[in-house]
Structure formats: structure tokens, C-alpha cells
Subunit: 221 residues, 2 copies
DNA sequence: GAATGTGAAGGTTTTCACAGCA
DNA sequence: TGCTGTGAAAACCTTCACATTC
């Protein structure tokens, strides 16, 4: 069995995955509005994309539509939720119950999509033991241990930039493979850990750039 | 003067702008650490990019380096801040003092970069008149009027998805040309208004996808 | 007739590789 | 020698256009 003859795993671009999120959201609305089918044109319009883009994105994962008719709304939403892995719930821990952290605990959108924050950590003695939305804040000292004991699958990091790397090192030690980082710093993780960054200043900076340069982007996304 | 002979405005890609934000951040750190110069290689390493990428990005805006030596840290940081338009401060209003909204009011990173939140709006009578970090919450009824009177230049929208379009319509009426939207909905604005979306679930969904599919992205950004 | 699924074409972005300069 | 700046090549992503199917 020559290893170079194995079917290569399909590489999907980041943009395609992000657009799947948009399709999922649009389909949820369409479902509520009572539509049974939607065309690539209809979907595209809702998210300011092109019909060809929608069809191409979906085609990477299968054939979900009917020629002449379009896509079945409920079925396609379910299919995308499977692809994205949000047809289940995820056990999420949040480290850093400050400004951003406490906002995220109550963020409805996470819960709706199955991301259940079930564990909170902080290093502030005044916060440890306190109750946020029914979850008692644990001491960050026991981070690695408790993440493992509680079968946490993803961790959201919302601590100051100065300590984020230490926190992430602990998280990695606990065997966690998916981390969402809100600290404005580039963190190092091993190759087998998925790390994504949420940089809220970035989009304001983009706006600032656009205003100053009266910018029209090369490609509209 | 034939209009098609005018020098065409350089089109810069979204990714390049986002990377400028990263360079800016890295340079601020380097400056604090006392470095006087940095090579494209050094910068690249800090943000997990390639040296060629760094050089190409910067080359769109000029020649800031010295062959054999690298880039002067302070100068380059200043230059990038000019390009991004963050070498000044921006008057920002925030609509929706809920979960996310109140976190953003205290978000240090915005202030550091010159984005000054100077006005707050909400529709909740219990919140109107209350004080958040020294700013009194105004009634959303007077949104368009007050945005103009207060010379607001950018608006951050952190209201529920169901009302976001109405709010944005008002903001557009006030002549605002830059909007950052946190509501998980696709908003319609005229062509001359810059709208950016911050979708915090998207990155968790990306992580979920990555875990389920053991995903290696086509291109690492 | 209407709309999908998809190779191929067309653009855009990244990477390469090297001339040129300190 | 070391590192930038940049055309050219390579990789990647989007759009086109049409055969195919309902």
C-alpha cells in the first residue's frame, strides 16, 4: 500500500468554512420564515455573495440541491451543522472572567450553536468562588487538572496579553486541542493544537484605514 | 484630461491591512523591548508569517527598510499607524449597552489605539441616564441627532440581531461612514458606508470544524 | 424553464529568487 | 555578508459558462 496513492484529504479553505457559518445562519432564518427551499441565488443575496460561490462551496461537501428547484432549507441547514460539527454540543471552558470574559459567559449566540461554557477560571481571589450565570469560578492554579477532569473540549482565553502564553501552555498540557484567544498577542502552540484569534481592534483599524484612504477593497467578501 | 489616464488608486487587499495591524502590534512590543531595528524575518516570526509576505505588504506603501539592516522599529511603527489612520484619535459611539456593549466600553485595547468611545446609547429606560465609565447612556430615540451633534466618526453596534437593521438605518441617516457590527446578521448599508462585522461564533465554529475534520487549512494565515 | 454541479478560465494573493544596496 | 524591494512564478480562490437534471 503505497502511501502516495492514498486518497488525499480534501483541503478546504478558511473562507469556505467561514461562509458555511453564514449559510448556516441564513438557513436558520429562512427556516423560521417558513421557506422550504432556497436557490443559490437566494442564499447568495442574503449574505452578499455570488450564486456560483455558494454552489462551489457546497459542492466541496456533496450534492445537496435539486436542479431546477434549489436546496431544501431544513436539510441543508442540518447538513452544514454536521460539516461544521455543531450538530452536537461542546464542553467549553473560559479563562479570565474580566470585561470580555463575563460578557462571553452570557453570550447567547455561543449557547445557541451548542458551545456550552461549563467552567470558569480566574486568578483573582475576589472572583474565585463567585457565581457567574450558575457557574462557580475556579482557581486558575488548577487549570490543567480541572480541564481534564471535566472533559473540556475547547477553551476560550480572555486574560491579559501579558499572561496569555502561560495560560495557553497550561491548556495545552491538559491535552486541549482547540483554543480561542481574545488576548491581543500571538501565542505559540504545538502543531496539533488548533488556535484561533479574535482580535476586536483589527476591524476598527480596518475601518480607520478605509476612512482615511477612502478604500475600496480589491475583492469584496 | 482623460479620466482613464489618471493614476489608478492602489487597491490593497483586506489581508494586507489585517497584517498591518499585526505588524503594528509586534512593533509596539519590539519598541518596548528596546529593539532599534527588525528584519522582515524577525517580524514574520513573531506573527507566524513569511519574510517575503512582510516585505511585499510593506512595499505597497513605500520603502521603509535598509538593505542589510532591516526596518527601524519606531519609524516603521509610526509609518504603519499613519497608513492605518491610528496616528490620531477617533470619536466612537456605541449603541447597545448590554453584555457585549458594556464589555467594549471598558476594553482597553480600543482606547490604546485611539478609538475613544465618547457616547453610549440604549433603548432600555433603566439604562438610559446611567453612568458607564463616566459616560451617561443616551436614549436611542435621539440617535441620529446626537451622533451628528457630537461629531461621531464611527459607531459600534452591539444590539440584538432583530433590531440591528433599524439602528444601522438611523446611523446611516446621521451621515456616519464607518460601522462595526457585532449583531449576527447581515446588514444593508449604502455603498459609501464602510461596514465590518465581528462574528464571535464564527471562530468557535471554525474550531469545531477543525476538530471534527482534523482540518489542515489550505493556506495558513 | 429553472437551477444545480463542475471543469475551465480569470483574478488575486503568496512565494520564490535574485538584483541591488548598505 | 545581510537583508530589502520586486518582477516573475506558483498557488490559490472566485467566477464563468454550460451540460445536466428535475
Amino acid at each position: 500500500m503505497a502511501s502516495d496513492s492514498l486518497p488525499e484529504k480534501k483541503r478546504i479553505s478558511e473562507s469556505t468554512i467561514h461562509r458555511l457559518s453564514l449559510y448556516y445562519r441564513a438557513l436558520s432564518v429562512l427556516e423560521k420564515e417558513g421557506f422550504e427551499t432556497v436557490s443559490s441565488k437566494g442564499l447568495a443575496k442574503r449574505e452578499k455573495l455570488t450564486p456560483a460561490q455558494v454552489r462551489k462551496d457546497l459542492s466541496f461537501f456533496g450534492s445537496f440541491g435539486t436542479r431546477g428547484l434549489g436546496y431544501p432549507v431544513v436539510e441543508l441547514r442540518e447538513k452544514i451543522s454536521q460539516i461544521l460539527g455543531i450538530d452536537r454540543s461542546w464542553r467549553v471552558a473560559l479563562v479570565g472572567v474580566g470585561n470580555i470574559g463575563s460578557a462571553l459567559v452570557s453570550y447567547k449566540e455561543f449557547q445557541k450553536q451548542g458551545f456550552k461554557i461549563v467552567k470558569l477560571f480566574d486568578n483573582d481571589q475576589r472572583k474565585i468562588g463567585s457565581n457567574h450565570k450558575g457557574i462557580v469560578v475556579s482557581d486558575i492554579k488548577n487549570l490543567a487538572n480541572e480541564l481534564e477532569l471535566d472533559n473540556i473540549e475547547m477553551v476560550v482565553v480572555a486574560v491579559p496579553a501579558t499572561v496569555a502564553q502561560y495560560v495557553v501552555d497550561d491548556i495545552v498540557k491538559a491535552g486541549i486541542k482547540a483554543i480561542l484567544n481574545f488576548a491581543p498577542v500571538n501565542l505559540k502552540v504545538p502543531d496539533d493544537v488548533f488556535l484561533r484569534n479574535e482580535n476586536m481592534s483589527m476591524e476598527l483599524e480596518y475601518l480607520s484605514f478605509a476612512l482615511v484612504n477612502d478604500h475600496i477593497p480589491k475583492r469584496v467578501r
